[in-house]
């Protein structure tokens, strides 16, 4: 028995057929929301949230990415500081910088920009960040909190996907979401977030035998990794919501794994690249920085 035997055409979801899931507009809404909350804090006598970024090395595209984060902070009234370290910075020096930021009560969020130069262990160094300041949501403790459903700081890119879907009024509860990819950075945390929102979640990869059939079974299809064969019209049932985040991680433009032109007429909604998930990630960093500021205030008030 194959998947096609039990295939049912998924129901229509909230968005209009062929409509883009507009990350540019929705991320602008989130940035406006962040700006409002910063203003409300100021009116309540609370200081502006503070983000510290740590960048090791001089890769121009990574520098530009960090610059974009600072620009977004400035725009909404979040203060941000950049620690730029030489490419040959030792683990011990980097550890010293992170520990000093952990101990600095005027810093709410710490972001260690990845990738790090070879020789520096990204997970070990990320794990030095105090979980309550880990605005990228990548420490082991925040990963565990996410899976357990405890309060914590979630990772920005999967959070961006969730915000994009929810603010586009795409229902998640009881919907079948198929994720292609199994990365620790995106696919797995996204699966945890979708499960918490009552979706049925399938995680596929290149080894999945009936990939086409499983994808056709999806009401929401998330492409979070490249596949050996491009995802095209044969993988998408009419009415499916298609999210492409392959391009986010690589910073290399449109994801070759998705034949967007072929899929778009079938999809009830889909993310264009650029303009889909990409801008959501930075907007979610702002929300996490606000949340981190609130966590540290609650902690101080509790004593």
């Amino acid at each position: 028995m194959g998947l096609a035997d039990v295939h049912r055409v998924p129901g229509r979801v909230g968005a209009q057929r062929g409509a883009p899931l507009d990350g540019i507009t929705i991320s602008a809404q989130l940035r406006a929301l962040a700006a409002t909350r910063v203003r409300e804090r100021a009116l309540a006598g609370r200081r502006a949230p503070v983000l510290a970024t740590v960048l090791v090395g001089q890769d121009p595209s990574i520098q530009a990415y960090v610059d974009a984060k600072h620009h977004a902070c400035t725009e909404v009234g979040i203060l941000s500081f950049d620690h730029r370290l030489a490419a040959d910075t030792s683990a011990a020096e980097l550890e010293q910088v992170i520990r000093s930021l952990n101990g600095n009560t005027t810093v709410d969020g710490i972001l260690l920009q990845l990738p790090l130069p070879t020789g520096l262990d990204p997970l070990a160094l990320t794990n030095l960040i105090a979980p309550e300041k880990d605005v990228d949501g990548l420490t082991t403790t925040n990963t565990g909190a996410l899976w357990r459903g405890d309060d914590g700081l979630p990772p920005c890119t999967p959070l961006g996907v969730i915000e994009l879907l929810e603010r586009s009024r795409v229902p998640l509860a009881s919907r079948h979401v198929v994720i292609i990819g199994r990365s620790n950075l995106i696919a797995k945390p996204l699966a945890a977030m979708l499960l918490a929102r009552e979706a049925t979640v399938t995680i596929c990869d290149a080894k999945t035998r009936f990939l086409k059939e499983i994808c056709r079974h999806a009401q929401i299809l998330v492409i979070a990794a490249g596949t050996p064969s491009a995802i095209g019209a044969a993988h998408v049932s009419p009415g499916t919501v298609v999210i492409d985040i392959g391009a986010v991680r690589t910073h290399e433009g449109p994801n070759e794994a998705l034949d967007f032109a072929a899929v778009r007429p079938l999809a009830s909604a889909s993310t264009p690249v650029p303009g889909g998930v990409g801008p959501m990630t930075i907007a979610c960093l702002l929300l996490n920085t606000l949340k981190a500021a609130e966590i540290s205030e609650r902690k101080r008030e509790r004593g």
Binding site: A145, G152, F210
Partner: protein, 325 residues
């Protein structure tokens, strides 16, 4: 689809997976390893309140520990114990040199904040991987401990695959693994363990059933793990012929004459007619689960003595080879 011997015969009942036999093997290995730990292994269990099931479980762990030569400390606090008292008790257990692993039994009284209690457990002794750091290590694929129930399910699966002449490190590649249930102690960690084996993992649950879509997922499953807590939720007609079915549910039901018995989430009689193998309830994952808690306490003791600093094995093959004769 898996091709097991005798799979071509149209009407052949599946194999009943013998959890008690697998548990005896595991207990043998745990006993041998416990005996080799210089300063001994010890498990502490802490029950807060008077939940009957948790209390029975606590006694079972205590009995198993004695059998395996693992020290056991059984602790009980009243249902109105404060967070401070519970955290204080955990700290007291932490300094007991006999104790290498500890377990706070659930459910906790509703008045206690569960997250803060679980965060008080020292991660190196957290044998059910309930501390967020341990849950995170598991999610990232480098577990310190595997929580007992999903470990028992995969030990049974890996062991069965070995019996069928397959290599469990490779046999899951591309298989469709359907998990029914999304709890913190079973459904979610089972999904992680399935991903670590390169299975295609489908996580279904109550809301899948509410949308009337549960059977379309279960019918595709090469392997089905059910942890829904709903008696006989899964029947034979919902299964793929030849699949392997692991039943985690333990439900007490009363029959017409008012006597109570335990049934799983799978309707065994109809399932065994369709599936290639089914784990029964009782006598399935339960006994392995108990032994796994002790295994983790011994693992913690071995680490304390610097015997090895490896993460717990996601693939249980090494573990299996250690007691395969």
């Amino acid at each position: 689809m898996l091709s097991f011997p005798a799979g071509d015969e149209a009407v052949s009942a599946g194999v009943t997976l013998d959890g008690r036999a697998y548990a005896r093997e595991l207990m043998g290995a745990v006993t041998a390893r416990a005996g080799a730990v210089e300063h001994g292994a010890g498990i502490a269990t802490l029950l807060v309140g008077d939940d009957v099931t948790a209390s029975i479980y606590q006694r079972r762990i205590d009995r198993g520990a004695r059998e395996a030569g693992v020290a056991s400390r059984v602790e009980h606090l009243p249902a109105d114990a404060s967070l401070g008292q519970v955290v204080g008790k955990i700290a007291e257990l932490d300094v007991d040199p006999e104790i290498s692993g500890m377990l706070v039994l659930r459910p906790l009284p509703a008045s206690l904040p569960e997250t803060r209690v679980l965060r008080a457990i020292p991660p190196e002794k957290d044998v059910e991987a309930q501390h967020p750091e341990n849950a995170g290590l598991l999610a990232l694929g480098t577990p310190r401990f595997l929580p007992s129930t999903p470990a028992a399910a995969f030990l049974m699966l890996d062991r069965y695959m070995l019996d069928q002449g397959m290599n469990p490190a490779l046999a899951y590649d591309g298989l469709d693994l359907v998990i029914v249930g999304r709890s913190n102690n079973v459904g979610k960690p089972a999904a992680i363990l399935g991903l670590a084996r390169n299975a295609t993992v489908i996580s279904a649950h109550k809301h899948t059933a509410d949308a009337d879509r549960l059977d379309e997922h279960t019918r595709l499953a090469d392997i089905l793990i059910v942890a829904a807590g709903v008696p006989r939720l899964i029947t034979g007609e919902m299964l793929r012929p030849g699949s392997i079915v692991i039943d985690i549910g333990i439900n007490a039901i009363s029959d017409a004459r008012g006597s109570t018995r335990l049934v799983g989430d799978v309707d065994f009689d109809s399932a065994i007619e369709v599936a290639g193998a089914v784990s029964p309830v009782p006598g399935g994952v339960g006994p392995i689960t108990d032994a796994w808690v002790l295994h983790n306490a011994v693992l913690a003791a071995e680490r304390r003595e610097g015997r090895h600093d490896r993460p717990d094995t996601l693939h249980l093959v090494d573990e299996l080879r250690s007691f395969a004769r």
